[in-house]
Symmetry: C2
Subunit: 389 residues, 2 copies
């Protein structure tokens, strides 16, 4: 298999984009990425689109050829695929696109992620979010996705002494980061007091511990590393692309302060790239709920098990430290359009590695990581990206 | 890229399986295929699952790890992917699984397709079927999937003189075939008079011109051809796997008595396999509506453009002729569980090529073709399968 590089990136603003349709945002991100990659559509081989729930959200399945069509790219009858895996849909689509180029099947592919979540009532969006959990063993008994993550939080607090304040430090961090991100859903700063004082969703998680429902789309163009310099001055090599699964229902796991899928995907990714967690300078990790980020830091190998609370709250993962977490603002503040998230994480890391992240730039960003999760971790996806030397 | 073989197949009965859940049928088909391939789950590399609309149908997205989990295969945290493209979802999943093995990424993968369509009211299933058409340019104006195919039928009749009776010969053929298929949704024979006398759905298509909504699942195990004989006496080589797209809306095509996506996918497939339509002995083609089968015969190159009506009605595609169409009974009579269809087509062809199709056996079945369509042809997928020599 050959080496694969990211040649171009594109992303819409995330937020309540009520004046724009699903297809409009999908096309905007994709065309941005094609232009960024200086790629003629005549060279394109296929489209992979991550999306979680367009059927329920916009009454439209079969969306991959739809985006190709309305982007004006239908003439060559390219293959187009939608890939779904809950909130990890975008990262799974990226994995498929990576494989397509690595195998030599296509030279250039576009990988997109898009979701239009705010055109339905919040109650509907909540039910759809929970459809990434186990319907028959969890949701029919009244569990929701935040309630399940709240169980993980309670257990983490009980077992490791993680505090409510440590949890609350995650959204404070994310909003501080997003303040510098023009694409972010929320750019307001938050204080610890605001997070702690917000109404409960599923205790210990309050409304400000939960990422919002957002509209948004992101896209990348992938191609063979060996010819990447024709398209970009700074090719970003995909050093690893790994997917792992786990039980759907939390109750069927031996332990749920660890997401085994994340642990396994991370181990496979570091092995594939022959790198270690300590080599990573910048990471976009799954923080749909405050606890998600703490568990992820442990499972990805960035901190010892049980230590994420105090270490995160110490501020060491801000800009300027050895590892900057979620410079985009993460799902919590950049926003959470389910299927777009995994691709947007890669867009941010590519911009960081290229040195194009402006106010958000992380110094010495050479190796970056993205981490995307579906549901409560039945799917995890880890990508490692680095500046090609 | 290395050669890929089908090593095992499995399929549930298709029909109204009201006593069985989505996950139960998915697991049944997958485990059958694993047993048929004499494959230990320890050798499995990944799962690819075709499904169109589980979110709308059973309130459950994120179904690929779910099936892995409840099949007892979660321990190794395998990658699991759902692939969606309307009614072509199963065939698209197969294409991804094929690529994964061909590239050398995994040695063995399971490709499944599953849909549970009869646990919702028919009106809901109809709306979901139409979500494979273009919501903004077709469905909001009142078009349904059968109505769009009826437009294709009218145009085909106008342009080529295709008759109502020729259309009706499709379901008569399909039901005669399905009478010998124990997995078929409908095993009753139909007469031309019954089809012509059935109530209208979207004229000229009557209710017996339209494939039913079915529950069902199918699965195949894929592996490298070079080691296939460890698993099966008669390895079936995937000689071609090709996907093509087209506009979502009919009105945006220059001509709609041809599905350009099918023409292109077929051309690519015959090129990949270095074979011609005349080499094919048995084919499972898309016949969601009577007209679909006639258009497919033309676009796949089996008959000249415009000639499918009289040629099909002549009976030449029955068992015993040079090319047997839809020995399973097709979508019309074996059934139409959207995401399962493309995989079930391959299951039938594999059984035919192995000589294991019992009462349905087609003599001298050496090269087989499957043809799956999403919506009105925004996606078409063509596979060619042959007995490995």
């Amino acid at each position: 298999m050959r080496e694969v590089a990211v040649l171009g990136v594109g992303q819409t603003k995330f937020g309540e984009l009520w004046d724009r349709s699903f297809r409009e945002i999908g096309i905007e991100a994709g065309l941005q990425a094609l232009v960024d990659a200086k790629l003629s559509s005549a060279d394109l081989g296929a489209l992979y689109l991550g999306n979680m729930a367009s059927g329920s959200l916009i009454d439209q399945e079969h969306i991959a050829p739809l985006i190709l069509d309305y982007a004006g790219l239908v003439g060559r009858h390219l293959p187009a695929f939608r890939v779904e895996g809950g909130g990890a849909s975008g990262a799974l689509a990226l994995h498929q696109g990576y494989l397509a180029v690595a195998s030599g099947l296509y030279d250039y592919v576009v990988v997109g992620g898009a979701e239009k979540l705010t055109d339905v009532p919040d109650s509907a969006a909540s039910a759809i979010a929970s459809s990434a959990a186990d319907h028959e063993w969890e949701v029919v008994f009244g569990a929701t996705l935040p309630a399940l993550w709240a169980l993980i939080a309670r257990r983490h607090m009980h077992r490791f002494g993680t505090t409510r304040e440590e949890l609350a430090s995650v959204p404070v961090h994310d909003h501080a980061m997003a303040a510098k991100n023009p694409n972010a859903h929320y750019r307001n700063k938050l204080t610890l007091e605001q997070v702690l004082g917000a109404g409960p969703v599923a205790e210990p998680l309050g409304v400000l511990d939960c990422a919002p429902f957002s509209d948004g789309a992101a896209a990348v163009v992938l191609g063979p590393l060996e010819i990447a310099r024709k398209h970009t001055e700074i090719p970003i090599r995909i050093a690893a692309s790994q997917v792992a699964s786990d039980t759907m229902a939390l109750q069927h796991r031996k332990e749920f302060t660890t997401l085994a899928s994340t642990e396994v995907a991370a181990r496979r990714a570091f092995t594939q790239a022959r790198r270690a967690p300590a080599d990573v300078r910048v990471a976009e990790i799954h923080d749909a709920y405050s606890i998600s980020a703490l568990v992820a830091l442990e499972d990805l190998g960035f901190v010892d098990k049980g230590r994420a609370g105090p270490e995160f709250a110490s501020g060491k993962f801000g800009r300027g430290g050895p590892l900057t977490i979620n410079p985009s603002g993460g799902l919590k503040a950049q926003g959470r359009p389910f299927g777009a998230v995994g691709v947007a994480q890669v867009v941010e890391i590519v911009r960081q590695l290229r040195g194009e992240a402006k106010d958000r730039q992380v110094a010495d960003a050479t190796l970056g990581l993205t981490h995307d999760v579906g549901g409560t971790g039945a799917t995890s996806v880890v990508h490692l990206l680095e500046r090609a030397s």
